[in-house]
């Protein structure tokens, strides 16, 4: 059974359709990627799921029941893209305060904070103020306050921005751990390589509409262009046949595109017969990045952004 199901959700502002008829469902214990350029409607969508906004139309089913903000937000941990903490407040007190607002009794909140601080080696920070922390440290703290109350649904908006590789890895590991223990994670980003690595399932939104939905592997299969990378043993000419055409060549590396009906074995046979010394032959699936650029091309808002942030 799915933990969260969103049906025909709509939210219109005076000037634009921020979320225009989006539906999807998320299985328990999975990591779900919500992708889209800035201004695509991701934040509005997340704010409806976290109970900050009411949808204009549509319904949200959470944990088998219609979403009820006051009760259900206690089971959700939300880390917005724009991070924020009280700058003048002591870090330990702050974590305890936020946990209390999520419904934990004070004693339990303190215990949990201690546990997590230990885990992330942050014990010495307790009495410090947020303004004394670096951006990355603040990020770690923010993550801790998001997952502290063991929410069923964890929503992370760009969780790795501003983190060094060591800490990014630490948090990535933690996300996997949380999912393994049964938490469901919504992961919103426009960093494609992370999505491919982490997410089980993704949807892509652009201009308020869902334009892609599915498992990462399935999507890559769906959008494949029959590209193969061919490596020869030493420089050797390769000639295109009726089975494939050559797209590019760089020394011993060739990228060839097979005809849709062509069979890989047939192509290999042709190559061997032509005397090409083959060292490698591998299918090149499109990256999510490529797929997205292709899908949002033409919608000028999006495409440029993707290209510039995913080099």
């Amino acid at each position: 059974m799915s933990l969260l199901e969103v049906r025909n959700l709509k939210k219109f502002y005076a000037t634009q359709k921020a979320v225009d008829d989006i539906s999807f469902s998320i299985e328990r214990g999975t990591i779900f990627g919500l992708l889209g350029p800035n201004g695509a409607g991701k934040t509005t969508l997340l704010r409806m799921i976290t109970g900050i906004f009411y949808p204009d139309e549509g319904s949200i089913i959470f944990d088998g029941k219609p979403f009820h903000a006051t009760d259900d937000i206690l089971k959700i941990g939300y880390m917005p893209e724009e991070r924020g903490l009280y700058k003048k407040m002591k870090i330990g007190d702050q974590a305890v305060y936020l946990a209390q607002l999520k419904g934990l009794p004070k004693a339990e909140a303190i215990e949990k904070v201690k546990h997590w601080f230990e885990k992330f080696e942050m014990q010495s920070w307790w009495g410090k103020k947020v303004e004394d922390l670096s951006k990355g440290m603040g990020q770690k703290l923010q993550f801790v306050t998001t997952v502290l109350h063991e929410p069923k649904l964890i929503i992370l908006d760009e969780p790795f921005s501003g983190l060094d590789p060591v800490n990014a890895n630490l948090i990535k590991e933690e996300i996997f751990q949380l999912a393994k223990r049964g938490a469901t994670v919504i992961f919103s980003t426009h960093r494609m390589e992370q999505v491919e690595e982490i997410c089980d399932q993704i949807i892509l939104v652009n201009k308020g509409k869902k334009i892609l939905d599915g498992k990462v592997d399935a999507i890559r299969q769906q959008y494949k262009e029959n590209l193969f990378r061919l490596t020869t043993d030493g420089p050797h000419p390769v000639n295109a046949t009726e089975g494939f055409k050559i797209l590019q060549q760089e020394g011993e590396e060739w990228v060839i595109q097979l005809q849709p009906q062509a069979n890989t074995n047939e192509v290999l046979k042709q190559l061997i017969n032509a005397g090409v010394p083959i060292r490698g032959f591998q299918e090149e699936l499109p990256t999510l990045n490529d797929i997205f650029i292709r899908l949002v091309k033409g919608s000028h808002v999006a495409s440029r952004e993707f290209q510039s942030t995913n080099v």
Binding site: I52, F53, P80, G84, Y86, M89, L98
Partner: protein, 436 residues
Amino acid sequence: MNKILIIIQREFLSRVQKKTFLLSTILLPVLIFGFYAMIIYFSVKSDDKLHVAVAGNSGQLKEYLKDDSNLKFSFLPSADVAVLQKEVNEKKYTGYIIVPDGFKGNKGDSLVYSSNSSVGLMTQDKIEDKLNAALDKVRLQHLLAPGVTVQQVDSSKAGIDLKVSKEGGKTGNTGFAYGLGFISGILIYMILFIYGAMVMRGVMEEKTSRIAEVMVSSVKPFQLMMGKILGIGAVGLVQFLIWGVLMMALQLLLPVIFPQLLDTAASQVGGMQAMGGNSKQLEMVRSIMNNLNEVNIGMILVLFIFYFMGGYLLYSSLFAAVGSAVNEDPQDAQQLMLPITMPIIFSFVIMTQAINKPDGGLALFGSLFPLSSPIVMMARLPYGVPGWQIALSLALLVLGFLGTTWLAARIYRTAILMYGKKPTWKEMWKWAARGE
């Protein structure tokens, strides 16, 4: 409900635990006390030489009214005001007292001291005490005969009241009602600004540090706003309480530091001295109470707390709404605050009118209209206000703050998550009206 309490607790503690809170709460009364002490010190030590003409039926007073280093009495048989005023103008005397014919100095009688310069409380008391002491002796002289009872001796004690007149103007003990009204009005005025601005800054901090979005994913925006307003309100109440206690404690210390004060107080009623030797203060309070029989200080204090809270709740939610609409730029705050600060300033202007004409139409309107009633009503109270007006004013105030809170909450809810350009009043009005 529980969440509001947690928020109130944080807002309260995070402010009370600050060093600046301790400093301002303790330092301010000490500073005021310091000024106060300095003024008294100089007025006690003052080398002002007074030369008082006692005119008219001075009679036996002449024998008993003794000069001292700073105070000299001259006795004139003529009671011609014009002549006396002329001589005061020529600086022959500092001031004059005319004793009417047949003046006995019974309790409740009064004499008028006329002068060109204003007379300090200390000087006034000093002259009054000397006059009373002299009158005592005059009256005792009459009783020095066999068969006089203790009661008669007791009743011979003079208790005249010295009134002060400047340049023949109106006489009166003090402008106490005026002073009390003015001070309470100004206090409320300051409270609205200081604590209102504190609420606004708190909301702006939440918005600019982007914690607002984290918070509203845990609590309702209304809870967040009310928690802040109530928490800061509690800070204000505690601060006033501490100030009140500190001021009282420091005033008790006053006579210890300035024993001279006790000289003038020595002739006061014994029972009062039992109360910590602070009879000077009590004497003042007593005369205040005598002058304002119809006004109950206790009631004014209670109403002060009511108007403090009502006015604070009414305006602070508006300040919160403005804070939520502001982005980083403090200049935006200035502009958006204007429609809120205007009614406060207008209330202040109405208050200055109301003090001079407490029963006028403007004063009545100002003390009923919820946006101005906290300031204007406080100024009217010492003059005595009919009960129905107070009740109506309080009821309107409660309706007023329910209304502004409702309105502000709807603006706040939308504005707290809006970034980018500063919203116009029209947009904010739309948010309030639509209230999605």
